[in-house]
């Protein structure tokens, strides 16, 4: 029973990280209609920035998180402006390949700057833990902070997209860019804004991920990036609650497979579940399909 609870907690915590990353994929897809495969590598950059701030500049952990957010936000906007914006009229394949190129560029740039040696990442929230049921169930502070961050981000984003003018404009752009322009919405600025938000979230995800796993290499972001992308598709790409649901479910499935079956199988099962979901519900669990009236 306690193993089950321990697994559940770590599954939800890992899933929360996937959910935060998946939000970046889903928002960018929803508005720019592109898969930003470099998103995972922005996570890695965020983690390195946080690592450098605490290790080399000896600044407190919370400062390092803010640094990481600022750098990644700027990085996201620059990537969008330099690599994707010139391709706005191009086919989706060109954009996709560019995104893969940006991903490799970031990984290799990180390798040049920080070398490929594994860095030991010190958790930004300390290594404390809470013991429950006479010490049978241990929950790390990192896990708690991760889940809390995920909930706060979800609530904040939902409020942002439903109550603010900019947020509503984003939803309008995601449905129909031409019509949004006719309303006077600056579509290019809205897309930049989406990349800024997604990349800021990637920075947070990077710091949280490395706080749980404590190691950092230039490819740290690649696998979580792909899994979070799976989570976004699983939940219904373009849907914010879908990213949350997909992320958490994926985290739980992964941890349970690791624990009860075998860690070799975990990826196969994660992607197997994705295939089944897509066969049954092609738009994902919470993907919306609104019939159009002609």
């Amino acid at each position: 029973m306690m193993t089950f609870l321990t697994n559940l907690v770590s599954g939800i915590s890992l899933g929360s990280v996937y959910a935060i990353i998946a939000l970046g994929y889903t928002m960018v897809y929803g508005i720019a209609k592109m898969l930003n495969f470099a998103h995972g590598d922005v996570i890695m950059v965020g983690a390195y920035i946080s690592f450098c701030t605490t290790s080399y500049l000896a600044l407190p952990a919370w400062v390092s998180v803010i640094f990481a957010i600022v750098v990644c936000t700027a990085l996201g906007v620059v990537i969008e402006g330099l690599a994707y914006k010139p391709l706005r009229q191009a086919g989706s394949l060109a954009v996709l390949i560019t995104a893969i190129g940006v991903s490799y560029f970031l990984q290799n740039a990180a390798q040049l700057i920080w070398t490929s040696n594994t860095k030991v990442f010190t958790s930004v929230v300390g290594s404390g833990s809470i013991k429950l049921f006479n010490g049978q169930l241990t929950i790390t502070v990192a896990a708690l902070v991760t889940v809390a961050a995920c909930i706060i981000i979800m609530v904040a984003l939902t409020l942002f997209t439903t109550t603010t003018k900019m947020g509503k404009a984003m939803r309008a752009c995601s449905e129909d860019k031409g019509a949004a322009q006719l309303m006077g919405i600056n579509v290019n600025r809205t897309i930049s804004m989406t990349f800024a938000i997604g990349s800021a979230l990637a920075a947070i995800a990077g710091v949280l991920l490395c706080s749980s796993y404590n190691t950092l290499i230039p490819t740290t972001g690649a696998m979580p990036g792909i899994k979070a992308f799976t989570a976004a598709v699983f939940g219904g790409i373009g849907s914010i609650p879908g990213a949350l649901l997909g992320g958490i479910l994926l985290g739980i499935i992964e941890v349970f497979t690791n624990s009860y079956l075998s860690s070799e199988l975990s990826l196969a099962i994660v992607f197997g579940v994705l295939i089944v979901v897509l066969l049954v519900r092609p738009s994902g669990l919470l993907g919306k399909y609104v019939p159009e009236k002609v």
């Binding site: 509503k168 404009a169 939803r171 031409g178 006719l182 006077g184 600056n186 919306k288 609104v290 009236k293």
Partner: protein, 233 residues
Amino acid sequence: MLKVNDINVYYGAIHAIKGVSFEVNDGEIVTLIGANGAGKSTILNTVCGLLRSRTGSIEFLDKNLGSIPAHKIVELGMAHVPEGRRVFLQMTVEENLEMGAYTQPRSTIDPNLERVYDQFPRLKERRKQIAGTLSGGEQQMLAMGRGLMSNPKLLMLDEPSMGLAPILVEQIFDIIKRLHERGTTILLVEQNARMALSVADRGYVLETGKIVATGTGGELLRDEAVKRAYLGG
């Protein structure tokens, strides 16, 4: 108010609009009529900045729109209600209307909402409803209401009667007349030529990208060639 001078628009290699010029004066209803594919919507999309002309000029309120991006043109006082309505289906009626007022200061939104609800009481009843659940006629009203939310000096309507039951077409044209009486200048694109010409001050007849006839609404309604081609004999 609007002066379009010798525009040529291409879709890739296809020459869709061939040297079209026309103008809309303050307070008029002007209609562009023509068959499917004549280039009516292309002209509106070029005027509002979604498409670009290779030649000529488009002047709105004595300003050359040349390189002004579409989202800035809205701020100048032009609203375009596009073909096929294109309301935001996953947003509520009220959110759609708010988007229409995107360029407007916050203080004008509430009075404008009141005005639009006054004009379209049905929208008020459904203001919390998702636009995708509205009927075609209601979506058309929403699209028009959304256009009016920016207090436009010029309202461009692209096929407002498309796909609507005859009774709704009547209603939409009544609304167009009312808007006109209140001083809104309107550029109307229609396939329903008879209806369009009966409310219009002036009209232009478009054929495969060229203007082939022009006159007052009444003149065109009586014109033999127009009758044969567009009014069913």
